[in-house]
Amino acid sequence: MTRPVRTGLPVLLWVPAVAALALVVLPVVGLLGRADLAALPGKVAGPGALAALRLSVETAAVSTALCLVLGGPLAVVLARSRVRGVRLLRAVVLLPLVLPPVVGGLALLYLLGRNGLLGSQLPGVRIPYTTAAVIIAQTFVAMPFLVVGLEGALRTAGERYEAVAATLGARPWTVFRRVTVPLVLPAVGSGLVLSFARALGEFGATITFAGSLEGVTRTLPLQVYLLAETDVDGAVALSLLLVVLAVLVIAVARPRAVEGLR
């Protein structure tokens, strides 16, 4: 057994790395500095806050599951299909990342609203102002994170193992299940975490498409925005709750998903 040789880290990298970390961490420190820590528990346990927290966690969980069920296969198709136009599709998938979320919300209204392209064909079914609308909006903005990450991993992993399995007589579904999926499991894990985090923080598309009503569509970010009108301390407290929730999810899930499989 030889010990792996560690190449040294260029010292020059530390400067921008520390700056990058400061850019991410210092605003949160600022948030903490403004927070009235003694009043925090009371603010976080307020009636609107708990309803918003619950709604946020539930909708983000469902959206993340949808990202996997719909986005996972899409990533495989984009990475492996040889159909013409796949390159164009790859760009289209990125649209929700580029669109300002409010525009995404308007686009969803134009499609699924009462006068929308699809919505007008569904009399008696109302999608805006429902919890389903929140989930659709979150899935819309979060899915690219899973698709892009997973597609990249699939391309990096290459098709050699799949080809070998196929020459040994495995059928496409067996190859997918026994070879492709285990290869990219870490990427699936990190994609899920990113999607969940993005869905949890979703704001613009939700407020535009789903509106804002306590217990139905008012998720934690919407509650923070509303609270900022009258009670900045309460808004800061809820923001911290959101930060803690996101950090927990990332800290607990990400190492296991990404590194635990080595």
């Binding site: 209204l109 609203g113 006068n115 102002y129 407020i207 509106g211 009503l213 509303l226 900022a228």
Partner: protein
């Protein structure tokens, strides 16, 4: 690196020229609902005072009050409600009410749900959008509901009056409560229904100059314009009531 320095120097020079062109700048923070009327008044003020540039920052009153609280350099603050003026009371000279606003019912063009008045908004199955009670238009909505004895269950409580208007304009809501001035600015895109109970929830708009206004003389002149005959006529055209 040298190129960068040149660019920076050029930018500084340009910025310098800009401030020579307009000798004085008056900074006004005004509620979003004042956009049309204050834009016109700012132009009139610039025409009457050569060399003065008026910069108006239109936003929600609470956001503006917060920016003033954080130390923004402002000469005049015009708020859509007295609560947000109260938040900066220790930084402004005594405020005066210069206009009032009240609510009306708006519907999509053609009024597909046949809404006739405020009481109709409590009807089952009607998609009504209101402002959240935490924002000025929402607290006014609560007051008219109480005055009229009507209990509306909205499908959504929006953050501001423009969001309510958008949902109605797109036909995604059957009706909403907005300020008469916003309804008027939307023109033919919404139907407007007036109701008597709105008189019970009239919203006063206070205006004040900042204690440490960078341009106190100009600020006092601008206040005089807004509260004077020209200002009141302009605000009346936008649908505001007189205090």
């Amino acid at each position: 690196m040298r190129k960068l320095a040149l660019v920076a120097a050029a930018a500084l020079a340009l910025a310098g020229c800009g401030s020579i062109g307009a000798a004085k700048t008056l900074t006004v923070f005004a509620a979003a609902s004042l956009t049309e009327s204050f834009t016109a008044l700012a132009e009139e003020f610039e025409a009457d005072n050569a060399g003065v540039e008026v910069v108006v920052n239109f936003a929600g009153s609470s956001a503006l009050a917060q920016q003033i609280g954080e130390g923004a350099a402002v000469d005049v603050f015009a708020s859509a409600d007295e609560g947000n003026m109260g938040k900066v009371a220790d930084q402004v000279l005594p405020a005066q009410v210069f206009a009032t606003n009240r609510l009306v019912v708006v519907t999509p063009p053609g009024n597909p749900a046949r809404v006739a008045g405020l009481a109709d908004l409590a009807r089952d199955g009607l998609a009504v959008v209101l402002c959240a009670p935490q924002v000025p238009c929402g607290s006014a909505s609560v007051r008219v509901e109480e005055a009229a004895g009507v209990d509306i269950l909205p499908v959504s409580e929006e953050q501001d009056v423009k969001a309510v208007l958008t949902k109605v304009r797109l036909g995604e809501a059957d009706a909403g409560l907005v300020y008469v001035t916003d309804a008027q600015a939307a023109g033919d895109e919404v139907g407007v229904i007036d109701f008597p109970e709105s008189e019970g929830a009239v919203n006063p708009y206070p205006i004040a100059m900042l204690e440490n206004a960078p341009q106190p003389g100009l600020a006092a002149k601008f206040l005089a314009l807004v509260t004077g005959a020209d200002g009141q006529a302009e605000l009346g055209r936008a649908g505001f009531g007189t205090p």
